[in-house]
Symmetry: C2
């Protein structure tokens, strides 16, 4: 296999595929890892794989939390060497970048040109824009601005059985065909491989005014910030247990209950509630919460569910109750305005029974999300870790339509009966 792939991408761009995982730490391996240097090479690899019935697993920065980039054999395709900035048009609020450009680079290029690319998933230094599209990545500032999808006006992608296509483009509106670009957003590499993205940008915000508040009634606090008369650019919460794990470095004054963080970024916008805090310091601290929580026992299982915003408080309380019921430490934080919780269960890396209890607790979190009218994933995707529930016929029909052989990232975004 490696020799045949070397003929497509060059011998120096074919590596051993052992030990490939992502932030899920799910064990993964491929028969080969290829690093194409052009979109045409990606198309040729997919064509070869489709001809030989070999699974294809695209990989971006491998920062995903759900195992979507952890292959189980076949050929892994890294997009890292597709990292050209094809167009940067600041006056038109637009750029076109290849899939391997990092999220941080997109953000920096925007910022250096007086513009702003709002989606801000964690690990922006490592995560790549192609992976962001594949998972429809979110982040704190998506509350006001929308998730990755809202910034994608077009994609270039390789579809089965190996065709390089474009859908959408630099124009900001397009209803001429079906929304293939939108369908690829969040499809986790199971419908095609994104090779380049046209992004719309917005003018850089006038300022960032961040306030924080501790509250024993999370729903009430969120509701008050939502009644401020404008859309906060971020509206986050950190529950008392997650806060405790990161309290030592908190740049403000600790308090009782859940921490609520709100940011306003419009020229005339200001909150009447909360304590002002330096925005850069606060966000730096916020970015470290996941690591601080992981450090408590050395390992954690992180789940990402979303519920209607008025059910957030109930969901946060229930995550704690679920942890207690399963005898495992739990906490949660997330994008409160979007009703998007990151529920975490903490355990010792070597404690296999605790890991099993965490898995059982996660099942209860999924059931809760559905019961509250929500969804199993707000922004991380299903990957290999979460089975597709309900499995509507339409989902399967779309998969068959674009991947008739089922070779694109098999086992990902699938019902429990298949895959890992």
């Amino acid at each position: 296999m490696q020799a045949e792939l070397a003929r497509i991408v060059g011998a120096g761009n074919v590596l051993d595929g052992e030990g490939l995982s992502d932030a899920s730490r799910l064990p993964g391996y491929a028969d080969a890892l290829v690093l194409p240097e052009t979109p045409e090479q990606v198309a040729a690899v997919v064509a070869w794989a489709y001809e030989h019935d070999v699974p294809v697993v695209p990989r971006g920065g491998a920062t995903g939390m759900a195992g979507g980039a952890a292959p189980m054999g076949g050929v892994a395709v890294s997009l890292a060497r597709l990292n050209a900035v094809r167009e940067l048009a600041p006056l038109q609020w637009r750029m076109c970048v290849e899939a391997g450009v990092t999220t941080a680079t997109v953000q920096r290029l925007a910022r250096e040109n007086g513009l702003y690319y709002p989606p801000d998933p964690g690990a922006a230094e490592d995560s790549q824009i192609g992976g962001n599209v594949a998972t429809n990545a979110g982040g704190p500032h998506c509350f006001k601005y929308g998730v990755t999808r809202a910034f994608v006006t077009g994609v270039e992608a390789v579809l089965a059985p190996g065709e390089l296509v474009t859908a959408g483009g630099p124009a900001r509106k397009d209803v001429a065909g079906y929304d293939l670009a939108g369908l690829l957003c969040g499809s986790e590499g199971t419908l095609g491989i994104v090779t380049a993205v046209w992004l719309r940008l917005v003018p850089a915000p006038a300022a960032r005014r961040v306030v924080y508040q501790f509250s024993e009634d999370l729903d009430d606090a969120i509701q008050r910030f939502m009644a401020c008369g404008f859309v906060p650019s971020a509206l986050e919460y950190v529950d008392r247990r997650a806060f405790a794990a990161a309290a030592g470095s908190f740049p403000g004054q600790a308090g009782e209950g859940s921490l609520v963080i709100a940011e306003a970024d419009g020229p005339g916008e200001a909150f009447e509630e909360g304590t002002p805090i330096d925005a850069a310091e606060l966000w730096r601290w916020r970015d470290g919460i996941s690591h601080a929580v992981a450090a408590v026992h050395g390992a954690k299982l992180a789940e990402d569910v979303a519920v209607p915003v008025e059910r957030l408080g109930e969901a946060v309380t229930e995550v704690a109750a679920i942890g207690a019921r399963h005898g495992i430490e739990s906490c949660s934080w997330g994008h409160a305005g979007d009703g998007n919780l990151h529920a975490n269960f903490l355990f010792d890396p070597g404690d296999t029974p605790a890991r099993a209890r965490a898995d059982a607790a996660a099942e209860d979190v999924f059931a809760m999300a559905l019961r509250l009218g929500g969804t199993l994933s707000g922004e991380h995707g299903l990957g290999r870790l979460k089975p597709l529930r309900g499995a509507p016929a339409a989902h399967a029909a779309l998969k068959r339509a674009l991947d008739p052989k089922g070779l694109l990232n098999p086992g990902v975004k699938e019902p429990a009966s298949r895959g890992g």
Copy 2:
């Protein structure tokens, strides 16, 4: 046929299907027009049609410009009696409405509750939200806020062969399955029939400050407004010929060149350029342009293309040149910031040769849009009037996946070789 349909929806809800068209005035007829009163009845009608190989054409307010709701036989399904407001949750910035609720009602319900639903296609009093979703409708205020798709968090829809499904819902984020709700947006009734929509809303803007300016250099004027440091809530243009048709009722001071209209709606936002004008008066006038232009000769052919914003001036100039080349009066106006032009060719209703020249001119407009890196439709859809160009295999595969018998709105969004 009518008797069988009467058993599903009741005899009083089956009407004659003669003379059904939309704002395209394309002649249309159906063997029956049914008006289901529940989503389950819509599903039963589709099931019946799928069983008997009868085409199904959904109809909203029939305000579409492209003939997407003008049937060519089969059963036409009006969603007008599915007009319940299922949920109105102002504190959560959310509503759930059935497909037949008018756009104006959605806008009013939002406004009465301190909120705002930005998409504002023309004919809001008649157009229905289900049709807005089906065409992914736009309007002036989509420049800042995004088109209909950006406000849809979920849909309830009937898919072939007659299944009532939901995709998404009240939660604001969801990457658990493929984005079926997004795929239905802009699909023009060819993949399924939307029966209800969950909409996200935003707080009502602080104020509307509108300015206008006449400019001989459209691109320069647009560029200056885009450099204002924030996203204008609308950025429109009206070329000199379209302005002339509506000049009599213009509430400001007429000038030379194209009219540019810019609106700011954030609390601290203000333009340094342009002449202030009353927002309500200006938008009322703007809404009447299409009628004023149509009145010049009694009829017009309106095309809706979008180009990268920096090509707008070139496109506007070319529309005029195309009209001159074909010996037919032309003008254009539209959503400048989105590069979305409505190119119009004017003729006498009885003048068949002029109508043919208008059609030929429209072909040149399509070719121009593609040459400039744009698209054949920014917000009206392809309907029966515009053939799908390029016809990617993926488009056809998605159609086959969700409508294997090809019975959902046949002839719409199809390559030129098929349909009307």
